[in-house]
Symmetry: D2
Subunit: 432 residues, 4 copies
């Protein structure tokens, strides 16, 4: 059971890596990780080198026996790994910036994972991820692939549909809800039960229990606070709306339920050249300056501002549960298989799952009320088309995907956005 | 089989009645109608009287033995009827005008059946229709109820869910497609096969056959024309869009696929006080002037401009099919029951049905492609909530319904519209 | 539309062919058949020659211009045919006799299509039928394949799952119900509506209407008679049972509902060497003696005793409906596709369908009550396994199929039967 | 959380009670049980008194502060209980004997829970259980009802359909599999993962993992042994059969897969007046002799021969999981709700569930292969009809239930059995 294991991180030069590494270090007694391979592409060589050095310093400081290997050879990294973690960003932050600017320019919300922005990111990312999966199929067929790459639900669905890799899509949204409620109710995370329904970045909480007592009404009436992601604008929730919804929305719901206000704010940011992508680029730059500092031997506190709070904890907890065959519950992106009856069987959903060494089994989700169902089905159908467009390179399917998205006001607008995006993303979209 | 039968028309003072009557007169040899009862409410007394007189003149001119009875007593009209036809407009055209103006004022499309406008019309109409159904359950339990009242799909669903009446929802949209293609291909309606998927006013044609040969590509590539309703603005369809959709949309799809352009046009009309409701009011006025003319003894040609082309033909054809147990195919609004697998069982859908004397049986609809499915499921969930809101008078459910509608950009906007609508419609919404 | 057409009959030497030919001759003005190709295998050469000669005499007598071609070359017969009719019997009647004797010897019902007998016939027939389908895919890809070969439901399912041919499975059971009720109620077949639920040879009538009036209670209470196939023993139905069933069973239901009595009778026949197969062999012999008689120029009346009453009428009616794009209702074996919600999508079912030139569309079947559902699902699962066993030649799957069948009392018995059957059928089962 | 709690045992005079009590005593530090109420009916007064005395001795010996109350007043026992355990036997062992003898006499398997025997037990028991549920709804609406009363799946389904009580059906079958495999693989129960599909007493194991490694093939090939219930005859499993089944059957499957051999054995026992019921009566008598002995202060070892091994452990483990909100996995009888997609939503199934203080959530079960599906659906449909028959007292529904059961060879036999059973059970079946 506890043989030494190898972990491969694809996109190892990401600013998030130190957080993941911290988790590995802290849990080394349980996990017994012998090697961590950090793979990246030539464009990321410099960053990777910074991360590699920092990683070594962290391992040494903690006095752990973990070999750190940085490489441009993805296949070497993957070979015989027990876990492959993917946190790539095809086209890097500059393409994310394009995603946002093109969207807002055409009068629709520009966002990393939701709407037109997430759509384009998916088109760029899916072919690369499927290539990685081919390597895993060949070189580490028994490995678990933990995918963090956004849009995580769509990416995971493309892998579920087009490869044989054991993939789990992971997001820090669910764990943040647990942490938030644990703090609000001054209790342990284990005492909290959350009934989730949804898909990645569109997940509703239909009930919340603290030690078996339903407390969802505290949130719906505004008596207690819900989790708000730092990277999403917050105008608060109308309690009439929440109570009639009968569920706690996640942060990304604001793009759908408060479209007009968010769009207004984004247009302002657009004019001032300071959208979220601009902010993130700044934060990244600063982070890497810190990382370079040889005096830094632990995960810097500044990383927490980056937006991926508890991301590492979610990943490490999951690896522990798999490794230890714990039968614990994690909220994961997995194949639907009828778990949410109103969605197709072959799509990805984000729900509570029991995790064992050999399988993740979703807990059955009950009836989905219409106010949740309608939006959920619409966005999921958009995601299905997005996966198909990315895999086939069919421009017509891409047009249908964008047109169907609730944030796009017409097929004409969809076409205009698509045309510009395809042009700008040309180097990343050989399939079109 | 061919015993004399009574037909009750609720909303008999409607300007459409002469068309229905013409159909009855023309098919009298087959149908053997002995009595047509025209029921209306006190506010419609004057119009009813005009229609009553015209109806008598039409019957006399045609030399038919059909008794025409106008009444304010709905129950008398319904008693022992074989068919009840409902074509009511709760709040009359002035409330339709309010529906449109309130919507556009808040920056969303204002339309009789789609979006915020149709929503408010549904709230006003459903309680009245369910009252009518109670009378039918008591006084004519074996009657077929043919409902034309808009939004026909939502109204029909409310009856399917909350009464035991044998209801069929009817729309002239499908028959217009048949007529259009028959003309375009210079062939008989019988030679045309249309595969429909959808719900009332949101119905896609997924294939079109002329004598067994698929011709849908003619339409999708723009080689041949599709049917365009006169009452919906037309900017043409982009053929790239049509081909990737893989289906012919109906006129009402423009509100979803061309939202921005239609909204722009409506804002213009709004400023000039000439929305569709204004136009219809004018047409109605002119029509009744003509109807009053004692020299008029037949359905006036001017009626055709009113927008409900072939409405009567659809109704009379259906009555004939039921009456003669013809096993012919009609496109009707009926309970889903799994016919469209991706929608709930208990909702109304608009699909091809085999019509017999005792039952209407929908033809199984195959897989629904995602580009159709996503929008269809979203709008249907909105309709379910609308039915629930109308029946319960729950303002929270109403808020969720409006928020979920693809044409409403946020829950805040939904709330504003809802507040104003509830205020303006107060006399018609005792349930709230 | 009415171009001259070619019909290919695979198994043209069957004693049923004259009936089919009579139908073609009688409908020649509508169908305009130019050529009928009768294909058979060397073992059937003699019979084929008899049928060929009789066919020519029939055509001449009727003064029709129809070319009759007999051939051992199946591919020549299929090439460019508009309709291919399959009525083959792999292993001929002597193997049917073996099916029956092996079954009864092991203490279970021996029957041509139901239970162990039908199972073995399916294993022999499916590979041959799939070969024929390959020829059709290549040589007549637009042809309709009308399959009469038993067990028709299982055979049709194998083709639906493993070929691209446009197949329709056809049985004379449904048409016999229509004929029976038309006679009983002294009315036209068109006046009768029958709601069927089921699969081939296991089809329930859940309602029966004469001109829109439900009359099923007449049958359930024994006031009126149902159809009884001549080739199935009849002990009558207990009316308590029928009324609680709430549906009219078909003849083959007796094998399930009256297993003990039928088995008793079969054991008696077995001892006396006069099972159904023995009787049929005798009838066949006599029929061919008649066919050989040059004086015979029409379908001999004796054929009606053979058991396939109205078989030809069902086939010709169907061909007419397809050819004329009639949109009429036929009861056919087609892919389920959710028509019967409690069965898998990809199986064959026998239900009412609307027939057009280009497609057959099943009418949606409503909820299936548990007393029907349980047996239906059990037998269908057996059929799925049988198709899989026949295609893969997997003995384990075959064992599971037989064990699951309600007429087999244990896995041990299934194994014994299977072993003997595989031995006896060796020449016909290369896949095992 | 850990407030003192009251447990009510309905059927407290059962010979199983000492086992349950032992569990309570052993876990008292965690559970903090303050009162155990043992309720029974006048016919069981004597036994109850024996159990009451033994219980007191056991509590005293263990030096626990648990109040033991025996009562004829069921309502008093239920009032404010946290857990209600039902282990009743309507008509006692003498009626079980009748169930077995009537069945075998008519040539079908006689068994306590499967087939005709279980059917009759269900008819007797369901009305009594629904009465108990009415008391729980009124007097302890928040209590969890743990039902052990057989046929546990059918009884649980009747409660799920016809009451609002929080019911969980419990059986010792699953825990015995865990225990068996833990022993066979010399490992802890926690290291074992079992994928179950099925319903009570008809549950298949589709995979078995020891610390994440699949070991099911060990069982299917006979290399390792499966669990065999002591109360079911064992002829061993044919490994060809097991391997093609692809799943480990439970003991009760023998009634279906080895019907002929079991029936043969039962006919022998019947002739000698020593069926299972006879044996159990003897064991019970001996047990109570032991129980009466004042020297006995602990659960006697002899109880383990009674057949309900680990019954108490299953119950106490479940109570602990609920009480401690453990989120652990138990195999329970719960409402389906789409967990097994091929069964109706409102039926009971037996599957792995996550247990929390406020809810039990089933883990989604994947596709069910046809060889399992066919039998499962058939028996479940029988169970649905049995529940309906018991609740309505409709003899026709009862006839359909029995006829549909795979162990009954015809509707005639079903009728004969039903007639005799209804006669013999008259005092217990007021609903008929």
């Amino acid at each position: 059971m506890n043989e030494p294991m190898k972990i491969a991180v694809i996109g190892g030069g990401s600013s998030y890596t130190p957080e993941l590494l911290e988790g590995i270090i802290l849990n080394q007694e349980v996990l017994n990780v012998s090697e961590v391979w950090l793979a990246d592409i030539p464009e990321g060589k410099e960053k990777l080198s910074v991360i590699e050095d920092l990683s070594r310093r962290m391992v040494n400081k903690a006095n752990r026996q973990i070999k750190i290997v940085a490489t441009m050879d993805r296949r070497e990294a993957i070979k015989d790994a027990s876990y492959v973690v993917t946190q790539i960003r095809v086209g890097q932050l500059k393409m994310r910036r394009n995603d946002e600017y093109i969207s807002i320019k055409h009068g629709v919300i520009g966002q990393e994972t939701t709407g037109a922005g997430g759509f384009m990111k998916a088109l760029r990312t899916i072919p690369v991820m499927l290539d990685i999966c081919k390597d895993i199929e060949e070189l580490a067929p028994d490995a678990w692939l933990l995918n963090f790459t956004n849009p995580a639900g769509i990416i995971t669905e493309s892998i579920l549909k087009h490869s044989n890799v054991n993939v789990i899509g992971l997001c820090n949204n669910p764990i943040n809800f647990y942490k938030k409620f644990a703090k609000a109710y001054n209790t342990a995370v284990e005492d909290i039960s959350i009934n989730f329904i949804g898909i990645n970045h569109l997940i509703w909480i239909t009930d919340l229990y603290i030690r078996g007592q339903s407390r969802i009404d505290d949130i719906l009436t505004g008596k207690s606070e819900t989790y708000e992601a730092k990277n999403i604008p917050s105008f608060g929730w109308d309690t009439d709306f929440l109570q009639s919804l009968g569920a706690i929305p996640c942060g990304y719901h604001k793009y759908y339920y408060q479209t007009d206000r968010i769009l207004e704010e984004q247009l302002e940011q657009y004019k001032n050249n300071e959208t979220r992508a601009d902010q993130v680029q700044k934060v990244e730059k600063e982070l890497f300056e810190i990382y370079k500092n040889p005096a830094i031997q632990e995960k810097p506190a500044a990383l927490e501002q980056r937006g991926g709070a508890y991301y590492s904890e979610a990943a490490i907890n999951l690896i522990k549960s798999i490794h230890l065959n714990s039968k614990k519950i994690h909220t994961l992106n997995v194949r639907n298989n009828g778990t949410i009856s109103c969605l197709p069987d072959d799509v990805s959903i984000e729900v509570n799952c029991v995790v064992e060494n050999h399988q993740t089994t979703p807990l059955k989700v009950g009836d989905v009320p219409p106010q949740i169902r309608g939006l959920l089905q619409n966005v999921k159908a958009y995601e299905e088309l997005t996966v198909e467009a990315a895999v086939t390179g069919d421009k017509g399917v891409a047009l249908q995907a964008l047109t169907l998205h609730p944030l796009i006001p017409s097929s004409g607008r969809a076409k205009d956005i698509l045309d510009e995006m395809l042009e700008v993303n040309k180097p990343y979209l050989p399939q079109f």
